[in-house]
Symmetry: C2
């Protein structure tokens, strides 16, 4: 009959429209300051319509959050052809930091805001799958490094967490504008400098 298919397609299109509008508003004004009515205005539908496509505001937020991980992961996979695991680890760090600074609001959404995990808690999933995949990627790269003799005397899980924390710490301080405490002439480059200092340490380990 084909009609059902077209309807399905149209429904999917509107869902996508909502997501696109929400994303542009979230990234422009912030999640908190974007109202359902703002989104509705932008797509020229009534506020109520949005609730036929998403349970609540958090569900919109969470859908975008998932998209962010796909983006990040897509950028990560290109390092697979680097043969040296330590080089791969450092490349991961650079990609992570670069992604965070290029897409601060999306990063915020993914790793800083509390909403997505509230959503995870309120639905049924006890797991944060998107984040887990990213962490697994780090852990396996680190394991390869250790198999080749790097980081002796260290333990895989703790070191994985430590490395993640370090890059997350730098970018999240930057994104949430706590870097104003470093010397004025260093503020623009402090994340880059910090990352290089970190790599320097990793090399000597």
């Amino acid at each position: 009959m084909g009609v059902a298919e077209r309807k399905e397609r149209e429904k999917e299109e509107l869902r996508e429209q909502i997501l696109t509008a929400a994303k542009s508003l979230f990234l422009k004004k912030g999640v908190e300051k974007t109202s359902i009515r703002n989104i509705a205005d932008l797509i020229e539908y009534s506020p109520g319509s949005i609730y036929h496509y998403f349970k609540d505001k958090d569900e919109i937020f969470y859908a975008l959050h998932q998209g962010g991980f796909q983006q990040l992961m897509a950028k990560m996979v290109v390092i697979n052809d680097l043969p040296h695991p330590l080089e791969r680890l450092k490349a991961m760090g650079r990609i992570y930091v670069h992604f965070a600074l290029e897409n601060p609001d999306m990063y915020d959404l993914m790793f800083i805001k509390e909403a997505p995990l509230d959503h995870v808690a309120r639905t049924k999933a006890l797991e944060w799958n998107e984040g887990e995949a990213t962490f697994k990627f780090l852990r396996s790269t680190l394991r390869e490094c250790m198999e080749q003799g790097y980081f002796q005397g260290q333990e895989e899980e703790a070191l994985s967490f430590l490395i993640w924390s370090t890059v997350h710490g730098m970018v999240s301080l930057s994104i949430r504008r706590r870097c104003e405490v470093v010397l004025a002439d260093r503020q623009d480059t402090i994340v880059k400098d910090g990352l290089n200092a970190f790599f320097n340490i990793l090399d000597r380990l």
Copy 2:
């Protein structure tokens, strides 16, 4: 005459009452979900009254934020009697992490939330004095370490930032509940383990 003084005192008392009520609600329900009316209800005053004591909700938030730094700094100064600078540095790290995990909502307020800096931006101060004092403390401790020969080949500002980022990264991932990606049996201890792994690295540097 004494009357003005008593009035002044009473005014100060109510201000303090507002702050106490706001703090307990902020820490219990979160800043976003605490309304001025909630605070007013708790102290049994009308919502309008609060605006005689604070310009807006952010000003209440900012006042508490300052209190948090005083708390943290008070805990920090006790390390001054440790003669060895590297021991002092590590003690700072432990105190910082301990404070963050003991007072997650206050830490959130101080280092994660964006509001206080919005406040700083909107008033006149271009500086985040509370944070700056804490960072200076770290930097001077680190300098002493370097003067005694530690961390050779590293640069003071970048390394200060890196160290701060590392501890901030660990606690903020923990507070914002991103630690669920680490192995299930390690989740309870991962921040402690990560910190020890970090100290281990610092020792070898």
